[in-house]
């Protein structure tokens, strides 16, 4: 499509459609956008032509890439430093086990069961090593676990797990040249300086209509993303770490987060997720459903193998440990980011990408369903006095009194 505004209208129209589906079917917008992207590419590809959606157009790639970077930054900034300080030992052990076991397990399954080459196998390991903090957080919030020590530990472990994935994605395919050293040095300098500079800078010049804070954050993310790309690494790596380091300042500024959220979910992530979905080949999935099955179960079994004993070591009961493990077996955002990285860098084929994304989506849905249906540690829920930051529960603490929700 030559006319850029027509193409933009098509993409935003698809985003709108995906949002409506998300509302009707009560699923997340991201998941809906991936599916809409896949179906739209299938239909538009057949009717108009394979490149009609323009997924590889420079400006679409830019908006989608920015979406991935800002989304990763927000994911890092959502870390609760207090929770991490409280549960750092457990989070570190479980999070590392949750990363290492599926990274090796899924890579081995791709290499030795599916016969993939070494590069694609490592990429499969990275994409399936993730967990989904957001999927877990939604479950924790809905069930009231987010205010319990148990729920906080799971969330902290998820952050460590994803940090492992992002670090590996940023480094495993890196050429390890002088540029890599410069990238590492620049990253360390930025990671040291940013937490000290950001807070005072925002206090001095922030809070104005000109949105200085947003520009500053985008400047830091694009700058470090540029250095990462130049060094042959991945821009989401510095974005996640910057987010984590600024979690105590930017992360606590709810107004700023809300403004970033508007920018991210209103414009950027629809391009990212629809684009990610548009590269999924339905014919490839239909032709070899066993590949998806192998990848999905490789992730599940290796997560079980790594996370279950790690959690058990912290003296949880069998039910709590199983639930904890299933929560750590979820995945979505970083899984798709890793798979898309592999596809855009020519590490994996379109078919391999399709199977990986399908396995990632499967891992977003299936473990949570099983966990909540069979292993929910009801006894750990904060009973009738649960707070959960939710008005849904305030009545419980006020029975017999007048409620002011």
């Amino acid at each position: 499509m030559e006319n850029v505004w027509y193409l933009a209208a098509v993409w935003v129209g698809l985003a709108l459609l995906a949002t409506l589906f998300a509302i009707w079917f009560k699923i997340s917008t991201a998941l809906s956008e991936i599916v809409v992207g896949t179906v739209a590419q299938l239909i538009i590809g057949v009717i108009v032509g394979p490149n009609a959606l323009g997924s590889s157009t420079a400006w679409v790639s830019f908006l989608a890439g920015t979406g991935a970077i800002v989304l990763t930054f927000l994911a890092g900034a959502e870390l609760d430093p207090d929770v991490f300080r409280l549960k750092w030992k457990e989070a570190l052990v479980v999070g590392l086990a949750g990363f290492v076991a599926p990274f090796l397990g899924a890579a081995a399954a791709a290499r030795y069961v599916l016969g993939w080459d070494v590069g694609p196998s490592w990429l499969a390991g990275v994409a399936l090593s993730t967990t989904s903090v957001a999927v877990v957080y939604a479950v924790m919030l809905e069930l009231g676990f987010n205010v319990t020590e148990y729920g906080k530990a799971i969330l902290a472990a998820c952050f460590v797990n994803d940090l492992g994935t992002v670090l590996m994605l940023g480094l495993i395919f890196s050429p390890f040249t002088v540029r890599t050293l410069i990238f590492v040095a620049a990253s360390v300098a930025a990671f040291v300086v940013l937490p000290f500079v950001t807070g005072p800078f925002f206090r001095r010049y922030g809070g104005r209509v000109s949105e200085l804070e947003t520009k500053f954050i985008l400047f830091a993310l694009f700058g470090m993303g540029g250095v990462a790309l130049w060094a042959g690494s991945e821009p989401v790596l510095p974005a996640y770490v910057i987010g984590m380091l600024l979690a105590g300042t930017v992360g606590k500024d709810h107004l700023l987060i809300r403004r970033l959220r508007t920018l991210t979910f209103g414009l950027l992530t629809p391009f990212y997720f629809i684009r990610a979905g548009s590269f999924v080949s339905v014919p490839a999935l239909a032709a070899a459903p066993l590949v998806f099955t192998v990848l999905f179960f490789a992730k599940m079994f290796s997560k079980m193998l790594g996370v279950f004993p790690a959690v058990k070591a912290f003296r949880y009961g069998r039910q709590e440990t199983t639930y904890y493990t299933l929560m750590m077996s979820t995945g979505l955002t970083f899984g798709t980011i890793s798979a898309l990285f592999g596809l855009s860098h020519g590490i994996i084929t379109a078919g391999q990408y399709s199977h990986l994304v399908a396995a990632v989506i499967g891992s977003a849905v299936i473990p949570t369903l099983i966990a909540n249906a069979l292993f929910m540690p009801v006894h750990l829920r904060p009973d009738e006095t649960r707070e959960a930051g939710a008005i849904a529960t305030t009545q419980d603490t006020m029975r017999g009194k007048r409620e002011h929700v």
Binding site: L71, Y137, A390, I391, R402
Partner: protein, 140 residues
């Protein structure tokens, strides 16, 4: 006869009718009146915590408004009403609260939930009538 009455409220036309009848009954019978509002689920399989938090904020604000509307309506009718806001499956939650609170009468609206799902799976009202531990008044 009905010392404790529970009304299920979701802001719909049918639910408003149920609330009005519940208020009238509570006044006539000098009964205690409570109102339950069941929050919808958070978006499943979100991409970021921000999305979940935003959804939660929206749901909370919406239910705060509805609970206040219900209390105001009861206050207009001269009834001091307790509002119970819970998250979960609507039928299961309403039935559980009716059971746990030992309510003697449950007042629900005939309409109010998705007509499509109602046709396929049986309406919320039908399921509540079937499962409720007490008498159910279906308001139109």
């Amino acid at each position: 006869m009905y010392r404790r009455i529970l009304v299920a409220y979701d802001g719909s036309e049918g639910a408003r009718a149920a609330l009005k009848q519940g208020i009238a009954l509570a006044k006539a019978l000098n009964a205690e009146l409570s109102c339950v509002l069941v929050e919808e689920h958070l978006p499943h399989y979100a991409a970021s915590i921000s999305e979940v938090k935003a959804a939660k904020e929206e749901i909370d604000a919406h239910f705060r408004t509805m609970a206040k509307q219900a209390r105001d309506l009861a206050a207009l009718g001269g009834i001091d009403m307790e509002t119970i806001v819970r998250q979960g499956h609507d039928v299961e939650t309403i039935v559980t609260i009716a059971k746990d609170g030992q309510f003697k009468l449950l007042v629900i609206g005939y309409h109010g939930h998705s007509a499509i799902f109602g046709r396929i799976m049986g309406s919320t009202a039908q399921s509540i009538v079937r499962l409720a531990p007490c008498s159910v008044l279906l308001a139109k």
